[in-house]
């Protein structure tokens, strides 16, 4: 019975020893191994054996990239606007030993560092810059925080400012400002339109005036020319007639006059208003004219003998 108890105790001891010495680390973690409390090495994922009773597991470090939510905080910008900002930090432990022993509360430390730096960076910018330069804010935050967490074996891969909320009344005035800007633009455009239209109208009127004056001028020129031509033709005709008279007989004119005279008489006779018939007053003069006609006829037909 005695040796049996010893054996059972021994078996239990072996089991407990195995429990203390066989460590399987899951993927994505590294466990630190401490010998008498001093850091010895980091256990990689998989099956690991450590010396029981002497070695202990210190910290179980998550080696995956992790996300930290930066809680909302109030920041006063350079132009004294009180805004509410929150963000998000992505970081990854690359050195499990440093992350375990160089810093006490890694998450808390990283978070506080980020929050204070958000204040620092944003406090030095105006509201308008903040709202339009998020990229540069993120880059500056990343540079500072990453540099600061480097001794802790942590790589901060990205910091993003999620939401920048100005106070409600500021948002309202921003909206009003935007509306006013647009209205101003619209009014300016309207005025521009009117101005352009007026100018175009005046241009048109001017052109019309010019064109009509041009027309009148041209017409006057042409009229004058026509009159000139007429006079010239008249003069030419007169000249030809007088030439004809000079070279021929004066009786030829009489023939023409007589012809006209008879024509005029015919016109009077056939006038629609036939109640009056004006006859030449002096018959003698008619006769005289007939005489003249006879003379002309004689002249023309070469003197028929009576």
């Amino acid at each position: 019975m005695g040796p049996l108890i010893v054996i059972v105790v021994l078996v239990l001891l072996v089991l407990i020893t195995l429990l203390a010495g066989v460590k399987s680390v899951p993927q994505g973690y590294e466990w630190t191994q401490e010998r008498f409390g001093k850091y010895q090495r980091s256990l990689k994922p998989g099956l690991n054996l450590i010396i029981p009773y002497i070695d202990k597991i210190g910290r179980r470090v998550n080696m995956m990239e992790q996300v930290l939510d930066v809680p909302s905080q109030e920041v006063i910008t350079q132009d004294n606007a009180l805004i509410t900002v929150d963000g998000v930090v992505f970081y990854q432990v690359l050195d499990s030993a440093k992350a375990s022993y160089e810093v006490r509360h890694l998450e808390q430390a990283t978070l506080n560092l980020t929050m204070t730096n958000i204040r620092t960076v944003m406090g030095g910018m105006t509201l308008d810059d903040l709202l339009s330069n998020r990229d540069s804010i993120n880059a500056r935050l990343l540079a500072v925080v990453d540099e600061a967490t480097e001794p802790w074996g942590v790589k901060v891969t990205r910091i993003e400012v999620k939401d920048i909320k100005p106070p409600a009344d500021l948002v309202a005035s921003m909206g009003r400002q935007m509306k006013a800007e647009r209205e101003k633009r619209a009014n300016i455009l309207d005025a521009e339109g009117f101005r352009q239209a007026a100018i175009l109208k005046a241009e048109g009127e001017k052109q019309a005036e010019i064109l009509s004056a041009e027309g009148r001028r041209q017409a006057a020129f042409l009229n004058a020319e026509a009159r000139e031509r007429e006079a010239a033709a008249e003069a030419e005709a007169t000249r030809m007639v007088s030439e004809a008279i000079a070279s021929g007989n004066a009786q030829a004119i009489n023939y023409f006059i007589a012809q006209r005279y008879v024509d005029a008489l015919k016109d009077i006779a056939t006038a629609p208003n036939q109640k009056t018939l004006i006859l030449p007053i002096e018959a003698t003069s008619i006769l005289g004219s007939l005489q003249g006609i006879a003379e002309v006829a004689k002249e023309a037909f070469g003197g028929t003998k009576r």
């Binding site: 049996l4 054996i7 089991l15 399987s24 099956l47 990343l142 480097e150 074996g153 790589k155």
Partner: protein, 156 residues
């Protein structure tokens, strides 16, 4: 029924096999890669006792020895049984996954340290003094710091 239960003067091979099965179930319920070694030891011991019946204390002592042996043998061989070799080595490799990449210096390397842009993030880099904007090659990684060397001919 009483004959079937193991006692301190008589343990049958079947008892060891049942214990092995129970331990395997425990391993599934609470995975810790611990019970499985004891289960293996139990099965092996069951075989041994089946072949040559031993006294109970000797069996228990053998059980302890076999458990330790199972752990060491498992440590040696089970890792190599994994299909496709060490698949897990692709994961959580930290900065060493960046070795061999060509990157741009974003803050000039002065007195041995500067910063380089990798992907959409910046890393601390050590190497020969290099002006900003130069292309460098990552040769090794130590924690959060990358060791770089200049690529000849990219800057004058």
């Amino acid at each position: 029924m009483g004959d079937l239960l193991p006692s301190l003067d008589r343990i049958l091979p079947g008892h060891w096999w049942v214990l092995g099965a129970v331990l395997l179930m425990l391993e599934v319920a609470a995975p810790g890669v611990f019970f499985v070694w004891l289960a293996l030891a139990s099965f092996a011991l069951g075989l041994v006792v089946f072949v040559l019946p031993l006294a109970v204390p000797l069996q228990l002592a053998l059980f302890a020895v076999l458990s330790v042996a199972a752990v060491f043998l498992g440590k040696r061989y089970v890792g190599q049984l994994a299909l496709g070799g060490q698949e897990g080595d692709r994961l959580n490799t930290g900065a060493s996954r960046l070795v061999g990449r060509t990157v741009t210096v974003t803050a000039a390397i002065q007195n041995g340290t500067g910063r380089v842009r990798v992907g959409d993030s910046e890393w601390r880099a050590t190497g020969p003094d290099t002006p900003e904007g130069a292309q460098v090659l990552i040769v090794s990684a130590e924690g959060t710091t990358l060791a770089v060397r200049e690529i000849s001919g990219t800057w004058v």
